[in-house]
Symmetry: C2
Subunit: 153 residues, 2 copies
DNA sequence: ATTAAATACATGTATATACACATAAATATA
DNA sequence: TATATTTATGTGTATATACATGTATTTAAT
């Protein structure tokens, strides 16, 4: 295990709360890096994978760009542009909605489903191997993280 | 408080551990957004601020690019480029080391110090207002996050 | 029915991430 | 000493973030 102190070569924190904030930021980077490394084998970025997973959640129903955007972990993600890359790789298809011509409807292709399934399989395996906390600790962690965001509107 | 379920409009998680991973990623994004919003008033990005703080930690000693890089929270940050922006704004100064001509030595300017102090003051205030967990919870959170990264080399 | 406002998406710009590669200088090796 | 390797930094490219703006379409208001 690498403690935060070693990771960012800092020992003096203003408070335990400030250390926790840095710890959250560092842990998120660590998790993303871990996933991205695996996803690279499939030619996917972390964010492209996230969009594919969101689409899978509604499959075989389609989703419009807005629906995808509000399910993204990073809310400021530029979903149209991420879909651009996925479309080039023929993992999704874009069509204009017949009901509301402003909406672009995104559909997972068979290739998209196949790639998502293969990569998800590996990702889950890697994450299970790398993150070994037990269910109780995870539950406690979820509780505390939501406490951190208590001021969120 | 906004629970993760509402934030990413998802209710079915594979496990409490998977939920915790998403919770870490979302919380990190939330914290970064909160800080960036304030830093914008000072014309700084989150990453530029991080570099300035690292430099402050050694002040009045100087630091080379590599030393800054290994203290960054996001290890894949391109430090030379971040320093480019800081240099343009005259917040830091670049000089080539006399001892090792490969090294670029970075120095905080008076303007850099002033801007850092002003922005740190506000950031600390905002973070104290927004993140209201107590010291014990923070300690517990730090413990759990390091448990998450137990597999880190 | 016409106009105004809101909505959905695309596009543009600056900065950052992630990573490969280039360059110059220092160190190790033959 | 000459060469090879390593190290420190800079540069290039593709993608993403953060945010502003543009455009078409729908909805609401007059």
């Amino acid at each position: 295990m690498v403690k935060l102190e070693q990771a960012i070569q800092s020992t003096k924190f203003k408070s335990e709360v400030q250390k926790a904030m840095l710890n959250i930021l560092y842990s998120a980077w660590w998790l993303k890096t871990l996933m991205s490394k695996e996803l690279k084998e499939y030619g996917l970025t972390h964010e492209q994978y996230n969009v594919l997973r969101i689409l899978k959640g509604k499959y075989p129903d389609q989703m419009c760009v807005r629906d995808i955007a509000c399910r993204m972990i990073e809310k400021s993600s530029n979903v149209p542009r991420i879909i651009d890359r996925l479309e080039i790789k023929k993992l999704v298809k874009r069509t204009t909605s017949a009901i509301d011509k402003r909406e672009t409807v995104i559909t997972l292709t068979q290739g998209g489903i196949a790639l998502l399934e293969a990569s998800t399989h590996i990702i889950n395996k890697i994450m299970e191997e790398s993150v070994t906390i037990d269910q109780q600790d995870a539950q406690q962690l979820n509780l505390l993280l939501e406490k951190v965001r208590v001021g969120e509107e």
